[in-house]
């Protein structure tokens, strides 16, 4: 056999793998992928920053010297500050439930968790209008007690929770399932109580996955447009979050401020990307 290979003149010192494509097609595939990414993701990002700095650093800073803009930023931070901890808690509980217990409807529950990924955000908003709007199911009762949900902060938070619910649970459930519960069982046999087990055994095991889920959840909750748009009422200085405010600025021909505020969201995406990469490597190492 060896003799045949050596005598084969087409075989060089580097034998070609049977699974490898030709150089030509490899380059074609790579350039399509890179070109697509460049066109669809990198170019728009560059344009956002270019437009934001069209009138220089001064113009960029000036964009934030506006009550409606600072209010929108503040509201978005507030929404994220409520949404992210709640969804972290819900996500942990859901992942725990799915990975640690066997029960009827477990599969259904785990697909239900993914619901926000397939449902259009507009529908997420509509559902809450149908439930809590003045003409909705609970509308009259809420009105009687003077509770405002739709077109106010609670409605915005509810719809944001809906669209960002998936992230923590979806990252954690498969991880927890894969890790199994042998170590938890060991902790329990050694006399740990539930809390001790969670803080000392489970949490250290899942911390990078948890962080990853939280980062994604946060990014989406700050960037959500569709669902929030339906329940917001678009009142300036009251219920406009950053993404909605960007649309308002754009529609009022204030292009530099619109892109300046948009660049903050883009920056958030970049930071998320970096953190995500870091946590993924940590997860790989752990």
């Amino acid at each position: 056999m060896a003799a045949i290979i050596i005598s084969d003149p087409t075989r060089t010192t580097r034998p070609r793998k049977a699974t490898a494509e030709s150089l030509w097609s490899r380059w074609l595939i790579i350039s399509i992928a890179v070109g697509f990414m460049g066109l669809m993701f990198v170019l728009p990002l560059v344009i956002i920053f270019q437009e934001a700095f069209r009138k220089g650093w001064e113009g960029f800073v000036q964009a934030f010297d506006d009550r409606a803009t600072t209010h929108a930023i503040w509201l978005t931070l507030k929404v994220a500050a409520i949404t992210v901890p709640l969804n972290t808690l819900f996500g942990l509980a859901a992942a725990w439930c799915i990975s640690r217990f066997q029960f009827r409807g477990r599969r259904f529950l785990s697909s239900l968790i993914e619901l926000p990924l397939w449902v259009s955000p507009v529908i997420a908003g509509m559902v809450y209008v149908l439930l809590f709007g003045a003409q909705g199911l609970f509308g009259p009762a809420l009105k009687e007690h003077g509770i405002k949900i739709i077109f106010a902060l609670p409605g915005i938070v509810l719809s944001t929770i809906f669209v960002t619910f998936t992230f923590v649970a979806r990252v954690l459930a498969p991880q927890m399932e894969a890790q199994g519960q042998a170590e938890e069982e060991a902790a329990m046999t050694l006399g740990a109580n539930g809390w001790q087990m969670f803080w000392r055994v489970t949490l250290p095991k899942i911390k990078w996955g948890l962080l990853y889920g939280i980062i994604l959840c946060n990014a989406r909750s700050m960037g959500e447009f569709g669902a929030v748009s339906v329940v917001s009422g678009h009142i300036r200085n009251k219920t406009n979050t950053v993404p909605l405010h960007i649309e308002v600025l754009y529609n009022e021909y204030q292009f530099v401020p619109a892109f300046a505020v948009a660049s903050v969201l883009a920056l958030l995406a970049l930071v998320t990307l970096i953190l995500k990469t870091l946590t993924t490597t940590q997860r790989g190492a752990a």
């Binding site: 509308g139 009422g233 009142i235």
Partner: protein, 329 residues
């Protein structure tokens, strides 16, 4: 570092800045953003001088029909300033928030200014669009918002209908004309401002059926890129205003809301209205800005369509003529 401190203090300041005696929410249609931000300042100043009370006014803008829907769903507007009377009627009918006689409570049928529908074309007007007939020619792209959600779009539609009906004399022919026109519409935005950015900023379409005020605004924001074409026939648009009775009762803002709308008829406000390219009711303001507002051959909603209730039912409600032609597309 200094800028981030400024930012922080600005954010903190915005939290404490709410210290008015009254807060009003004006829920309005899409193109009035500039008009009302200017008018609100003038009213706040006037009200402070007249009563010593501080009032701050919040604004919400969107397609007129969509905004009416939001008020019905519980958006707590003190006043609604919408594109047409029909949308205010709907709030009264569906949610019982406004008394049925609202249109009689203020002068001029509660329409403090008027406007009309004109064409906006690219400066060189390559498709040579001069009148309604040019809009139905094959290959002409027409930009107009969705009549289901936008008030301006309903005025556009009715102006086109009136033209076709006058010309052909038959409703069947008018329907064909409207069908051909909407066949030439590539994008239906929900509000007038969305259509403006589609046409002016994104550069889509050959002609934009626009509020006269919005057409002038495009001239100002994108100088030299577009020009206005006045069609041989258009429609007298009467955007109307009303206090939302049930909401002001609850919030205790009935008086200031009423004063707010009445101030729209004052000479100062009428001047702001003219400045922002809406046609003032006040004779002095109308004369001052007469150069921008050419005399037009106008049909009216009450005279030619039998009022909004009738026009809405026949053309725009579920199963109406718009649905028939648009679904047949």
């Amino acid at each position: 570092m200094k800028t981030s401190l400024t930012l922080l203090s600005a954010v903190l300041f915005s939290l404490t800045a709410h210290a008015a005696d009254f807060e009003l929410l004006n829920v309005s249609y899409d193109p009035t953003r500039e008009l009302y931000s200017e008018f609100n300042k003038a009213f706040a100043k006037h009200y402070k001088e007249a009563t010593g009370k501080k009032v701050s006014i919040d604004q919400s803008h969107g397609g007129s029909g969509k905004q009416a829907r939001a008020v019905i769903d519980g958006l707590e507007a003190d006043v609604v300033t919408l594109a047409l009377a029909g949308d205010i009627d709907v709030i009264g009918k569906q949610a019982d928030l406004i008394a049925p006689d609202w249109q009689k409570r203020l002068p001029n049928n509660s329409a403090p200014y008027t406007s009309t529908i004109v064409f906006v074309v690219r400066t060189d007007n390559p498709k040579n669009i001069q009148d309604w007939d040019d809009l139905v020619k094959p290959g002409v792209n027409v930009i107009t918002p969705n009549p289901k959600t936008s008030g301006g779009a309903r005025w556009n539609y009715l102006a086109a209908w009136a033209y076709a009906l006058k010309k052909s004399g038959s409703e069947a022919k008018a329907k064909e004309f409207i069908a051909a026109l909407y066949k030439n519409v590539p994008v239906l935005d929900t509000g007038a401002r969305g259509s403006t950015t589609t046409f002016a900023q994104r550069g889509i379409g050959d002609v934009f059926l626009s509020w006269e005020n919005e057409a002038w605004l495009i001239q100002r924001e994108f100088p030299g890129k577009t020009k206005i074409v006045i069609p041989s026939l258009s429609i007298l648009a009467e955007p109307t205003v009303a206090v939302v009775d049930k909401n002001v009762e609850k919030k205790g803002t009935a008086e200031v809301a009423k004063a707010y709308l009445e101030y729209l008829y004052s000479p100062e406000a009428q001047d702001i209205i003219g400045q922002n390219y809406y046609r003032p009711r006040d004779a002095a303001a109308a004369a001052k800005y007469s150069a921008r507002f050419p005399k037009l051959n106008l049909v009216t909603i009450d005279g030619d369509f039998g009022g909004w209730a009738k026009a809405q039912k026949k053309h725009f409600d579920e199963g109406g003529i718009f649905d028939q032609i648009y679904q047949g597309k």
